[in-house]
Chain length 138, copies 2
């Protein structure tokens, strides 16, 4: 009396996780998502384990982790010792990256606002934005 666990097609998995079907295939191809079993005809059959793993991957991607970083996290999730500290470090390192990107973008934002401000105050001929970008010295 073995209870068969349910399986899902690629489309069903896509709908239930919000990850596009083609992307799921890509994740398998690059070794991120475990290869599922197949039907007699060759169609992929995913299990609840795949669903959990794919949701994990999706959440990590939403947090901006690279594929290679997620591979690392999944490997850590498999092992059971000293894992937590390593995961914490990987997450902290990623946080630093994210904060650096934010800093860069905020510098861009300030400059863009400045440029637009110059433009609004424009009374002369020509475009201050173009002029500044063409001729500024720095």
């Amino acid at each position: 009396m073995t209870t068969e666990s349910p399986t899902y097609s690629r489309g069903q998995l896509a709908r239930s996780t919000g990850v596009k079907g083609e992307t799921i295939r890509y994740y398998e191809q690059c070794g991120l998502l475990a290869a599922p079993g197949r039907t007699a005809g060759g169609h992929r059959m995913y299990t609840d384990d795949h669903k959990r793993q794919l949701n994990f991957i999706r959440r990590c991607r939403e947090l901006g982790f690279a594929i290679s970083e997620i591979t690392g996290l999944l490997d850590l999730a498999q092992t059971d010792e000293k894992t937590c500290e390593q995961v914490r470090q990987a997450t902290a390192a990623h946080l630093v990256d994210v904060q650096a990107k934010i800093k860069d973008l905020r510098a861009m934002e300030r400059t863009l606002k400045d440029l637009i401000g110059q433009c609004d105050a424009n009374s002369t001929a020509g475009c201050p934005i173009i002029d500044i970008l063409l001729f500024q010295s720095h």
Copy 2:
């Protein structure tokens, strides 16, 4: 008694603008930087005009404009009518993009900090980061 304007090799242009030599070639290839004259032997000879144009391109890239957007800006810089308003609009549109990216990254930042905080407060077995990413319902 024509005063010859100075010319620069690719490497000289690279050093004086901070844009890598290979990147300069790429910009020419994709139609962003005007093709320069050549020596008898086929080496590129850049002028001060190229230098100005490349500096403009570099500054736009530093502000996060896409190559296609810069092409548009350079086209606008060439024409002389109604240009300013179009440039202002392009810049404003880009600012919106940048602000959207900042918003996304800040959301990531908050979540990553939360996760790390969970980890710091961890007393149980297992890794809270992994657990949350694997099993959260949202």
